[in-house]
């Protein structure tokens, strides 16, 4: 559909460019996403004992392959946050929410995810949150959000 505001002006039209990517997960990330489907949160243990969440296949410091998945959460602590007052169409929730760095119990790294707090006034650095699972999980990162604990 094109539109014009005057005969000499350039026509404009909405144009959506889409890529229907599918990612093959591999053994480690398959374990991580299968656990999400089963409502469990898995981090990965580095050789020095530190636990990274979300899991990944390589140690970002030493580059060595890592594959020891360990359960973390479902509780965590908000390390920092930003309030999204007017969510955009492709953001995870249609109502206002927080993006927060959440350090899950048992993990040594913070994880950027959604906190469905209802209002900005309920958000605070240091607050406790817990994972809340979707009614239908599918093996994706949006199978859960955090909510104030």
């Amino acid at each position: 559909m094109t539109k014009q505001s005057a005969a000499t002006e350039a026509l404009t039209a909405p144009h959506t460019l889409s890529y229907t990517y599918k990612r093959s997960l591999g053994a480690v990330m398959s374990g991580f996403f299968t656990a999400l489907r089963d409502r469990r949160l898995l981090g990965v243990k580095r050789r020095d004992g530190k636990v990274l969440f979300p899991a990944r296949e390589y140690d970002p410091d030493t580059s060595e392959a890592i594959d020891e998945l360990v359960e973390v959460g479902p509780m965590g602590v908000v390390r920092s946050w930003a309030w999204v007052a007017k969510p955009r169409r492709q953001q995870p929730l249609a109502r206002p929410f927080a993006y927060a760095l959440v350090q899950l119990d048992g993990a040594d790294t913070p994880f950027l995810h959604v906190v469905d707090a209802g209002s900005e006034a309920k958000m605070a650095t240091g607050m406790c949150v817990r994972a809340r699972w979707a009614d239908e999980t599918k093996g994706a990162i949006d199978d859960f959000v955090f909510e104030p604990a």
């Binding site: 559909m1 350039a10 026509l11 404009t12 959506t16 890529y19 599918k22 398959s30 089963d38 239908e136």
Partner: protein, 170 residues
């Protein structure tokens, strides 16, 4: 909480769908806008390069060979043309809802020096290089500022064009 459909399968998750979608407000620019307004009236506009006289279709703002602007002069072209090359498509692709197999053609419109890619409604065994064709348009009341006003091309009862007339476009 009851297990989800995915949980009930109990198979490992091995693939993650991660679609990316980018929303643009596309501006056609002056030259293509003129082309689109003309096609809304059933006219096909090209533009002539002031350096070598070649006619580009659809009309565009500047010559890709010489880098000069085309200005405002437009050349109206026939909706008849000659098949330069063709391909028979036997695999489906997203966004093209035609039943398989179908024929895509490179058409050199009469008066143009660039080719147009479209589909041809003909028997597979009949299509050939040099075949004369004409555009089949939507009903006039459905015309908009869109190239979709042309539905497809069809063969017409004219002798084949001579090879020399289109060989540089193969």
């Amino acid at each position: 909480m009851s297990p989800s459909e995915a949980e009930k399968t109990n198979q490992p998750v091995t693939v993650l769908a991660c679609p990316i979608s980018l929303d643009y407000a596309y501006s056609a620019g002056q030259s293509a806008s003129r082309f689109l307004r003309a096609i809304a009236e059933g006219k096909l506009l090209g533009q002539r390069c002031p350096v070598d006289g070649r006619v580009y279709f659809p009309s565009r703002g500047a010559c890709p060979m010489h880098g000069v602007t085309f200005g405002d002069d437009a050349v109206e072209l026939s909706d008849k043309g000659t098949i330069v090359t063709f391909s028979i498509v036997r695999v489906p692709s997203q966004n093209i809802a035609l039943p398989l197999p179908y024929i895509t053609v490179n058409v050199l419109l009469d008066g143009a020096d660039t080719i147009l890619i479209h589909v041809l409604d003909a028997k597979l065994e009949d299509v050939h290089m040099g075949m004369r064709v004409q555009a089949v348009w939507k009903p006039k009341e459905e015309w908009t500022t869109s190239t979709a006003n042309i539905l497809y091309f069809r063969p017409i009862d004219e002798p084949d064009a001579k090879y020399e007339s289109y060989k540089e476009h193969i």
